[in-house]
């Protein structure tokens, strides 16, 4: 802008417009180049530490490398096997040969684990079969396999093999929404005993919504107070908001465990004052999760609200009052609309942080209060089923992006307008 202004202010006679434009372009280009050079380290950093690892992790949700890497010929034949069909002798022969080779290499475990995710007991089936198939010369037909274990005669067994033949799979993503592929190639619901994730996703969004509303209700008066009291007092109060903000989440959650437990501070005060007779269960349940999460996330609501409220002129409310509006109507119809950008920014911030919450529900929640991050951590650290962890992460990321899209559509433009 300033560059253009300088050019325009220069004597007009010396330039024809084409040369002027070229000069301007040149100047802008070099400016852009310099800007790019300045942000290049950051972009590189983001690409290396953010885009690359997250991208490669998310890719795992659709990759199915175990069988196609260790038993390539079998995998190729399995991909050509019609849905719900039993294999011909050629496929069985190749499978037996490659099973023997893979077993001798000691590389059977990866495939066995992958198949065991799909059908329980497949791991043992594979290892037992690998032990029992004879030396190279022996014939290998489907009947031979069935005589080792009758499960080889089931269509489900071969469907699971086909489904694991890779290199790409829908297995993990379907499992992340409690669905599975049947032997016929159709999609069916996971049996109720094994279905988790739809419930957990619903709970994740439900808990986050409640926490967001609680934060808004609590933070709005605080932010209003901060924005209206004299600057000196406001700074002091702001420190009170920021101090916990700078403290580790783990420490603050642990503090709530001390406060909320059965013989903790809140229960003992309640009993001493006679408010309650028996200790109230405040921790290891949903109440504890709401309290601790709301507390931890409160600054993320206060700060955007405060930022916007600082910029809101009080003249509007005064004008409304002088025109005869009741204080409540003036507040509701004049003040609140002016703070909408802060409300939306705060809500989106708190909601998006809340759906990724892991440590707080893990410490103060019960088993039925765990959010989706708990299961992502479970599959990443405990069972090493990274495909499943990636699929859950992908679903969570997609849902978050969709919500963010809705937010920018609803509030983004108006938010800009307010500024």
């Amino acid at each position: 802008m300033s560059n253009g202004a300088t050019l325009r202010a220069a004597p007009v006679v010396a330039f024809d417009s084409a040369a002027l434009k070229a000069g301007l372009r040149r100047a802008e280009r070099s400016q852009k180049f310099h800007a790019l050079v300045l942000v290049a380290p950051l972009l590189l950093f983001l690409a290396l530490n953010f885009v690359l690892p997250i991208g490669s992790m998310l890719l795992r949700s659709i990759q199915d490398p175990e069988m196609s890497a260790a038993m390539p010929a079998t995998a190729a034949l399995l991909r050509a096997l019609p849905n719900g069909a039993l294999p011909d002798d050629r496929l069985v022969g190749v499978l037996v040969t490659e099973l023997r080779q893979t077993s001798e290499r000691g590389a059977l475990s990866g495939i066995a684990n992958r198949l065991n995710y799909d059908i329980n007991g497949f791991r043992a089936l594979l290892f037992r079969t690998a032990l029992q198939i004879g030396p190279e010369t022996s014939r290998a037909t489907l009947d031979d396999l069935v005589s080792i274990d009758p499960r080889w005669g089931l269509r489900e067994t071969w469907a699971a093999l086909k489904h694991a033949s890779g290199p790409y799979t829908s297995f993990y993503l379907l499992a992340a929404v409690d669905r599975r592929v049947t032997a016929d190639g159709g999609i069916a619901k996971t049996p109720a005993q094994q279905a988790i994730f739809v419930d957990v996703f619903e709970r994740t969004f439900g808990v986050s919504a409640v926490v967001t509303v609680l934060c808004l209700v609590l933070a709005y008066p605080v932010a209003y107070l901060l924005a209206t009291v004299p600057a000196r007092l406001a700074n002091l109060l702001l420190i009170l908001v920021l101090l916990p903000f700078w403290t580790s989440v783990l420490v603050r959650t642990a503090a709530w465990m001390v406060l909320l437990q059965r013989e903790g501070i809140i229960n003992s005060i309640g009993r001493r004052t006679g408010l309650i007779s028996d200790p109230v269960q405040l921790i290891h349940n949903r109440i504890g999760v709401y309290i601790a999460m709301t507390y931890v996330l409160l600054p993320f609501m206060v700060l955007p609200l405060y930022g916007v409220m600082k910029g809101v002129s009080r003249l509007g409310v005064r004008a409304a009052l002088s025109l005869g509006a009741s204080p409540f109507a003036a507040f509701r119809r004049v003040y609140i609309p002016q703070t909408l950008p802060g409300i939306t920014a705060g809500c989106v911030l708190v909601f998006i942080l809340a759906i990724g919450y892991y440590i707080t529900p893990a410490l103060v929640g019960g088993a039925d209060d765990q959010l989706i991050s708990y299961f992502i951590a479970f599959y990443t650290n405990q069972t090493l089923n990274w495909g499943m962890a990636a699929a859950l992460g992908l679903v969570l990321l997609a849902a978050t992006l969709m919500l963010y899209g809705v937010y920018t559509m609803l509030a983004g433009t108006s938010g800009l307008k307010w500024r």
């Binding site: 995710y117 007991g121 988790i196 709970r203 013989e263 893990a362 019960g366 090493l384």
Partner: protein
């Protein structure tokens, strides 16, 4: 010229450092033993590692880890593994042995397989310690405490919350024991779909009273604060709290679930000979017998069990009284079924 000197010297230092670094990588490293850290490793250090270095003069490095077959896979398959002797849980022993991550042990040098209790013997590993999960409670709060898992389920007689480890393993076995299944039949029952249903049905009864813990170190505090009335816990940890924090925690050993940790040697270890020497040293009766006095864990060498301080052994899972009604955790069962049972457990627990 003078301005360039610091730059040059820095470059030189860098090059020298780099050469030294490369050199140290190529040079054979010292024998390295890796265990589970904390109190148990401190005990192993006192009883095994320090005496071993004194007696043999072999240099020994220590590391600690928190388990996971993935870690071992990366170490071995990545080549140039930085560990030699590792203390592993039985699941890792089975998986790793199957995948060829461990050297086969020379049992002749360990004194022969019959010198050890039967579950401690494996072609890839030898039993290091016997540990357990039992029923723990605070003796100051419960004078006439629970005796077994049936009492654990009795919320009328013992009101309050129960702590259990979040996960299917241990939990389903305990549910079946509480339902009257004999210790020796637990896995026979759990191996059938009806048995699994039965375990979950039994858990349904106690579900409102269960607080699920993920880290065992929380448990002594929760018992002491009354948050938990009783809990599934590793006895060694409660007994350590009794010793160090002057608590009065008590244990009910009836129906405890015990398992063994093993010493293994990573495949392709450059210090294989010394590693074998260390493993042999750590399993000799004269050395093993000292461990229970330092930390209440059981040992695996039959002679060591016979020679160990009986008072110390009384608090370990290897005590004949404690092992009488115990369940040996069936690792092959869990290797096979943990995916499905944990999925079902998670689905059950989150509803």
């Amino acid at each position: 010229m003078t301005r360039e000197t610091p730059v040059r010297s820095i470059t030189m230092i860098g090059i020298v450092a780099l050469i030294a670094l490369i050199g140290s990588c190529v040079e054979a490293r010292d024998l390295t033993v890796t265990a589970w850290g904390g109190a148990s490793q401190a005990a192993a250090q006192k009883v095994y590692f320090k005496p071993f270095v004194e007696k043999t003069g072999i240099k020994l490095q220590e590391d600690s880890w928190s388990g996971g077959i993935g870690v071992l896979r990366t170490k071995v398959q990545g080549g140039n593994a930085s560990w030699d002797v590792v203390q592993v849980e039985v699941d890792e022993l089975i998986l790793g042995c199957e995948e060829g991550l461990f050297e086969k042990l020379d049992w002749g040098r360990l004194g022969g397989k019959d010198k050890f209790i039967a579950p401690a013997v494996n072609e890839c590993g030898v039993g290091a310690v016997v540990w357990a999960n039992a029923l723990g409670y605070d003796g100051d709060r419960l004078k006439d405490g629970p005796k077994n898992w049936r009492d654990f389920w009795d919320v009328k007689k013992f009101p309050g919350k129960r702590g259990m480890r979040k996960g299917a393993k241990y939990t389903l076995e305990i549910a079946l024991l509480a339902d009257g299944v004999k210790p020796q039949d637990v896995y026979k029952v759990l191996g059938t779909p009806e048995g699994v249903d039965r375990a979950f049905k039994k858990l349904d009864e106690l579900k409102p009273s269960i607080i699920w813990w993920t880290n065992v170190s929380q448990v002594p505090d929760m018992l002491a604060s009354g948050e938990l009335t009783m809990s599934v816990i590793t006895p060694a940890r409660l007994l350590a709290a009794n010793k160090n924090d002057k608590r009065n925690f008590k244990l009910a050993w009836d129906g405890n679930l015990y398992s063994i940790d093993y010493w293994v040697i990573l495949k392709g270890s450059p210090n294989k000979e010394q590693a074998m020497q260390l493993v042999s040293f750590m399993t000799r009766p004269e050395n093993q017998k000292q461990l229970p006095s330092v930390i209440p864990l059981g040992v695996t060498n039959k002679e060591a069990i016979a020679q160990a301080d009986p008072d110390a052994l009384a608090n370990t899972p290897a005590n004949p009284d404690n092992i009488k009604n115990a369940v040996n955790i069936n690792a092959p069962f869990w290797v096979e079924n943990s995916d499905q049972l944990n999925q079902r457990f998670n689905a059950w627990a989150t509803k």
